[in-house]
Symmetry: D2
Subunit: 135 residues, 4 copies
């Protein structure tokens, strides 16, 4: 079982759409923000270090269920948890909750595929990386 | 079987992220743009008309598979097709393809839930609306 | 002379464009975020309270000088200072600086026009509001 | 006197903010979209060609006056006109108008600074480039 890590996000006015809620595509930006933060803070391998070694991660699939609107006055917490590794793909579960009260705003999974920057192709995640993620 | 409708999208420079591709959350903005366009153009019931009648549509689930990066020089076509109706939910399949060559950039499904603007609650899609969508 | 207030902003990955810098339009989103924050935190009249009283603020002019790129790893601080009031318009100076080291990333002025939500028209800023801003 | 060129922009639902207007920072995205389009279409030197030659353009100053809100149903036309060249800087006037009726939504100027990609520094605009812009 992998740990659950979390990152708090401040909703910005430009995230709000004509329905007075956080726009549905901005949830994906919050998840990306949280993963970048947690790579550095929790896994101790920042995206920059991957890039220096010639690798990068791209989202290859997202499944998101919207449970509850997020308002401008809300602060939200994005929790993510590695689910499994398979070849070039890391599967990650996420939950976006309201920081006050903890109600669930959205949940789902993202698949991140590791790619070689040079070739642009998916590349098997090295064991040493998988080991770093055993936290 | 429901018809497949399509909308062409011009990639804007602000859609491009640090990987020199269209940012992964902007795909959801392209899908929304296409649905708005097709509601007016193909189903003949624009979002404005729903709002006037006290209804709106919100995305309640998105499943998207990213197949291929979209570049600034690309033009893309978003095809959508109603899959089914269930209570308050319309399930819609989508395909984002490159307008030149037709290669698939992404595909998936979105669930749209019809809500009453007054109550904010999900509301059963009226038969007259379902009928309008039989095109 | 009006006080200078400040708000710290976390750069998000979706703010970064193809030049690997914060996209030039996102600076305006940072300024808006800072003003919302400072309306609540420093002037003690949140945007929500204006809206409840039937008023809103819209940007009617922006002049921004970009001095230095902002990178993903940066944290930035947005400082704003009221310059003057004239009729319906509040003129505000801003400086966006890097939180580490304090180097200037951008500076300029924004004019905010107070509008009546009902009429959509510019409306003279009431003396009681101007008084609240004397901090 | 330099020519005025124009580009039509389709407003997307994600451009609309909580005030039901195009968000104020998105105007800058429309201007950038127009300049990219016009570099290719009208000046016959696309941004990609600049980059291949080791150069790029960055916005170094924007002055924008918001005249009238843009709504989701609007189509807008962005007109731009070179005003002058000075060292590394091209000064460009712009007007954003509603395609139907031609009412002015915004106007202003952008300064674009030519930079060497290698050094990141401002670089004097070569005469051959200035010549290409004499259209």
């Amino acid at each position: 079982m992998y740990s659950i890590f979390e990152t708090e996000i401040t909703v910005r006015p430009d995230d709000i759409d004509m329905n007075n809620h956080v726009h549905y595509s901005r949830y994906l930006d919050y998840i990306l923000m949280a993963r970048y933060d947690q790579m550095k803070k929790d896994y101790k391998v920042s995206m920059e270090e991957f890039v220096e070694q010639g690798y990068s991660w791209v989202a290859s699939q997202v499944n998101i269920i919207y449970e509850r609107p997020i308002l401008l006055k809300d602060r939200v917490t994005v929790r993510t948890q590695l689910q499994s590794f398979q070849g070039a793909v890391a599967m990650v579960n996420f939950w976006i909750v309201k920081s006050d009260g903890g109600k669930l705003a959205a949940q789902g999974e993202v698949n991140y595929t590791m790619i070689s920057i040079k070739s642009g192709r998916a590349t098997r995640i090295p064991d040493e990386i998988i080991k770093k993620y055993q936290v």
